[in-house]
Subunit: 427 residues, 2 copies
Amino acid sequence: MNAHSLYRPVSGLDLLERIGNDSRQRGLVVEDALARIGQIDPEVRAMTVVAQREAAVAAAIAATGPLAGMPVAVKDIFDTADLTTGYGSPIYEGHRPRSDAAVVTLLRRSGGIVVGKTTTSEFAYMAPTVTRNPCDLNRTPGGSSSGSAAAVAAGLVPFAIGTQTGGSTIRPASFCGIAGYKPTFGMLSTVGMKCFSWSLDTVGLFAAGVPDVAYLAQSLSGRQLAVDGSTTRPVFAIPEHYPWTEPSANASTVLEAAARAIERAGGRVRPIRFPAWMTDLIGAHHTIQSYEAWQALGYEYDRHRAMLSPMLADFLERAGEIDTAAYVRACVLAKEAKEGLSSLFHGMTGLLTPSAPDEAPDGLSSTGDPAFNRNWTLLGCPCVNVPGLWGARGGPMGVQVIGRPWDDARCLDAAAFVERAIAECTA
Amino acid sequence: MNAHSLYRPVSGLDLLERIGNDSRQRGLVVEDALARIGQIDPEVRAMTVVAQREAAVAAAIAATGPLAGMPVAVKDIFDTADLTTGYGSPIYEGHRPRSDAAVVTLLRRSGGIVVGKTTTSEFAYMAPTVTRNPCDLNRTPGGSSSGSAAAVAAGLVPFAIGTQTGGSTIRPASFCGIAGYKPTFGMLSTVGMKCFSWSLDTVGLFAAGVPDVAYLAQSLSGRQLAVDGSTTRPVFAIPEHYPWTEPSANASTVLEAAARAIERAGGRVRPIRFPAWMTDLIGAHHTIQSYEAWQALGYEYDRHRAMLSPMLADFLERAGEIDTAAYVRACVLAKEAKEGLSSLFHGMTGLLTPSAPDEAPDGLSSTGDPAFNRNWTLLGCPCVNVPGLWGARGGPMGVQVIGRPWDDARCLDAAAFVERAIAECTA
């Protein structure tokens, strides 16, 4: 734990162990989360709306399931019937959806208590939110899942739900020093999430550490994803170069520290070179995201353009110029790249890269650069931000473990290995 | 045209040719559609809500694009900001969504005028609607896109939008004697459609004939799908047996008539046997549809169970018992089957099967059997219902042309070939 951090994330697994089967404790945990939100959120500004106290406590006391009584914050891009849902846009000011998103249903069925909604950049695009980074209030927590990452990093809740279409889960997790997990595309339903790009939108999860986020993923998905420590001698591929942007010296130093920690713990790292298609995918992501957003946010653009941020209005205006043939080419490229993934991962447990080109930038005017995340979102690969390291400017900097699609259990277990290795080195 | 039909569908292409560039004519076409709805719909009951006349006519006069001024009816499973959207459920009585579904945006951008919403079975599942088959008012029009099929068949509108998760486009098109087209999965966005099963839900289109429906598809998708007559010597595979249910003698007779017409027109038909996985896919469709509906309609089941039909409540209750491992196996099976599709289509322009096991059943208590459609929905194949033939009991019976995924242009052109061949034989 960085001595400079103002707040500490709370491990959901520790909390579950502590409360055991005690229904009164479950109620107290939710009361405590709401009290912390009341104290801390005026400074961090992670929440858009908070659940009604009596109802939340009663639900916690009655809760059953793997997340029984766990306070969870949900990005305000998911519909909730009992909490206003604004999608980060004034167009939806005061909007009360008629139903819950599927992931909210899964949370409730698992016993999780939705204690509030969290800030999202406008329609989960790039325009910054008011949320501040709990590790340094003068910096961005990243985006677009700004509030969910900050809510976990500030210890308001042990678990939070976000999304990733470019780099909206891994990047804020890195900036805020917590675990972030973007599952394989399609594992968690996006039903009831405001769509930006249906080929890219992915539910993302946040928690204090990798075992916590893996447990959350298991609870929601019904799949065996909990970290079991079976990964004892992982082999990670570290790219020699990146076709998007090279990491900062700061990020390279952190990645080297992670690599040394992995080797000390009995793992290995190997250099790899990306195939040529990795470069082409950058443009394909942009084309697909643009083409689909032009349709998915067509109503908002056509009817409420003046209420969009200039950043999003400009993006959509350019998006409208992309022709279907270019979109089809981008989709074909992505499909071929997915088929070529097995050679990229051959002999490797996973890939290891920086989660972002640098630590969180100063100020709130930018949510940072998703360059290190976009291609993996397009490829549908599971990605985990592993926290535990800090950059030269004192901010958290994660490393990203990337796995084969549908190999999420191994990816999470390998990420937990890295997390333990880092903790042993920095202890 | 069957002499017994009470109503005649209107060809959108004919209508577009007739009105040319005349803005006044566009307004009159919409006025006429609204007038026909006013006259005929009390009997057919295809519409749930009708657009405000002055606004619709003004929009038609101002319209530009490939569908400029064309009246279109939209299944009430798609969100419309200006028209109540009930998803066929009392839970959503009077619901006014905050935005339009993507396909509604595409319609409007193409110049189409949404003149009203059409009945859907509850959440596009199997519970019947009040809509009557325009070809025989004592029969079902099929489901779940009951109103969209009936609206076109009754000549209320030249074009309508529906969906297909099992057989909800091809079956009602067959029962109502019009063209229905289920594009390749993923071609038309389902954003803003109430989800039942995200791996299966597909936007479907209705029009009087195959060239009309292909033109609608081209207008919405931006892809080259209009029928161009390039298919001159198609080869159709006709399955020797079906693993779901065998067609009725009635349907077999119609399929034979279509085959003879194809051969007379210069095409060929060849028998094929389905591979063993075709049988397994029946269960996979059920598993995937159930598992996903349990999440997608989780809010409705968990919070408003008493407002669900017994049919849907029972379905969801059983759906909740399907475990994730069974779902994963079904998804793997579907993926492998998709990879095996090329051998099924080898040397063939497309497959030719009945669209449904029989003509529309009597009465409104069942929407009919989607057995001939489900596997193709799961496989994502484009399917076209070709109208023009009638069964022994006097109802329309379509034949279904099935194509390779993303080979929609050829599938539509081949279907148009069959449609012309049938017309030449029955003329």
